[in-house]
Amino acid sequence: MQFRSKEELETHIQRLKSQSVTTQVLVCIGLGCLAKGAQPVYNRFVEVIEKEKISAVVSQLSENSRHPVVGTGCMGLCEAGPLVRMEPQGILYLRVTPEDVEKIVEKTLKNGEIVEELVYQETHHEEVLKWPLMKDVPFYRKQIKIVLRNCGSIDPENLDDYLRNDGYVALARVLTEMNPDDVIGEILKSGLRGRGGSGFPTGRKWQFARVSKSDKKYIICNGDEGDPGAFMNRSVMEGDPHSVIEGLAIAGYAIGAQEGYVYVRAEYPLAVKRLKKAIQDAREAGFLGQNIFGTPFSFDLKIKEGAGAFVCGEETALMASIEGKRGMPNPRPPFPAHKGLWGKPTVLNNVETLATVPAIILKGANWFRSFGTVSSPGTKTFALSGKIRNTGLVEVPMGITLRELIFDVGGGIQNDREFKAILIGGPSGGCLAKQHLDLTVDYDSLCAAGAIMGSGGLVTLDEDICIVEQAHFFLHFTQSESCGKCVPCREGTKHMLNMLQKIVDGRAKPEDLELLAETADVVKDASLCGLGKTASNPVLTTLRYFKDEYLDHVLNKVCVAHVCQAMKIYRIDSEKCRTCGKCARVCPVKCISGRPKVPYVIDQEQCIKCGSCFEACPFDAVMVDWRSKNHE
């Protein structure tokens, strides 16, 4: 159906709301659950329910055409997927397999009972606590969902599902009741800051583009999300694509653009598929195209798929990529708001920024400001990964402490290990330590600690992780993703990587640490784009907060986490050695000596810790040990 006016849309939404949709089985088919086998679970539910003709469900089927089994976007708790939510009760089932389906249908759907063994549980002092309802599960308790308002509760491929929750009402209101300056005014007042990393005020960016004079302007949604450990944007594009489309249309109206792009990275084919369907549906419903809601405003969208390059997330590189070039950044100014895509004024916004916009328009700037802090209003989505217990997707109010985020929402560290550090903001972010746990999560306090909010990836590290090796790992990433255009980033990251390699190999001298810090500063100051400017962050923050670990590697050749291979010691137990000589024959540097009847010994000076002797010894006589601080 085509909506030609705001009233038509409102009538339709009223009708949708009046149709009672009570009994539902929501199966998460976000990518995380799919990767754990959610599709067969979904299929099985459809099969069993159609076969059983359950009365509660059948009566509902005759009332409206909506199928009781709904495949939704990400519900958040990826760790315990595949997830299934039963409505109207709101029961959450974890790790559901196709074999569980009949039992769930029988007990919950037919008789309203709970399948005990599938609900969330925790053991406290040998007492098992269970939380059958999703809203009570500790992981969800501190969350507030604005960006993820629909994610996990609607079918992303069903436009009516989006409309039922007042979808496109914000767009209708903007086009019929507000002029572009009012829209920008409302966004400015809300204090919304860009969720793509830098936190630039969205309203200000729109204002710049609005006052730029040009026959043509563009709005681009940045769905490149290349930060390792980030998957918030993917989840929104997959789980609630219309919220992004509505945000783009509102932004287009505000700045005076008639054309928009959604740039999605190559690694996200499912997001592309769902966005394509949503754009098509929005066009057919008249939310995109000519004279939307009967107003003079016309707007349409194209999807542009990336082809695998981290740097394309940077705005000028992204535009170069849309223009069909290698995705290399360009110096700013000129800023995209003046000269962007094909030389025209352009606004780039992150997926999450745009998905927030309709909610602000609908409920007002003051409502939005009631969440979060004064300088960072609203909520922020985070992707929890690494050694945290509840890996997954969350949305929390800004200003929450890291401790609440990691321990209350995230459930603490896996296997009851010790928390060691958290990497926030991906490879351009920083490593924060125990002493930062009470830091509040907002743009300014993270920045003051040397980290950045970034896009929202949070990788938790425990005591088994070597911080120096992690820093090396991140630098390896940025070094290989450096596009090579500017010297400080291209050469500087290479040198830093070499120095870190020396440290993990146990070949570094104390003065190398100073050189490392100095090089890191130069790369930070002199690089062309954000990639180089932030590449040093993991190194600088780890040097600052984990100096002792660096010194251990350099001075004592000790790796407390027992990760860096060079700090291992191989020895041969003379009691166990049967003098067969196998170890000496496989040793690539020929540093093992002995002869029949005389136990073999390893020359520690020459040993390269390759482990060949360890693997070769048939009598388990080769032992591995780690150097500790009080070693000889």
Partner: protein, 158 residues
């Protein structure tokens, strides 16, 4: 894996891909993506052809083709395995997963199995860190990998 024999039929296909993208202002990236989707890689002769047809210097076409990691300039297997080695996967033992895969397939990163079935590549973050360690085979993603699960998944493609 054998190289594609670039004949008339291939040029006709490429022509139709170019045609399908003619509305785009700067179609190079989309055209190369279209060709990759059909043939798995970008044969040299095809890139030369694209360069002539779009009137873009071939150096530019090669530049773009080699800049992006999803473009291949040599033949690849029927199934492209992209294994993630980024931070969240790394801290959960992704290097071990890579080792197991290499052993199972008997190839190294960047190589294709003799029967032309699998190519193994290390990729940038796949964005399913909630179920790390993860990999992607063509367009399907698999998570929470361990030795057993890798064998199960590979069996699906045998």
């Amino acid at each position: 894996m054998n190289a594609l024999k670039v004949d008339e039929e291939v040029y006709r296909e490429v022509e139709s891909i170019i045609l399908a993208n003619r509305d785009e202002k700067t179609p190079l990236l989309s055209v190369l993506q279209g060709i990759s989707q059909v043939y798995g890689y970008l044969p040299r002769d095809v890139m030369e052809y694209v360069s002539r047809k779009l009137n873009i210097p071939s150096s530019k076409v090669f530049g773009v083709a080699t800049f992006y990691s999803f473009f291949e300039t040599r033949p690849v297997g029927k199934y492209m395995i992209r294994i993630c080695q980024n931070a969240p996967c790394h801290v959960l033992g992704a290097s071990n997963i890579l080792r197991i895969l290499k052993k199972e397939l008997n190839i190294k990163e960047g190589e294709t199995t003799k029967d032309g079935k699998f190519t193994l590549e290390v990729t940038s973050c796949l964005g399913v860190c909630g179920v790390a360690p993860a990999m992607m085979i063509n367009e399907t993603t698999y998570g929470n990998l361990n030795e057993e699960r890798i064998r199960e998944v590979l069996a699906l493609y045998q």
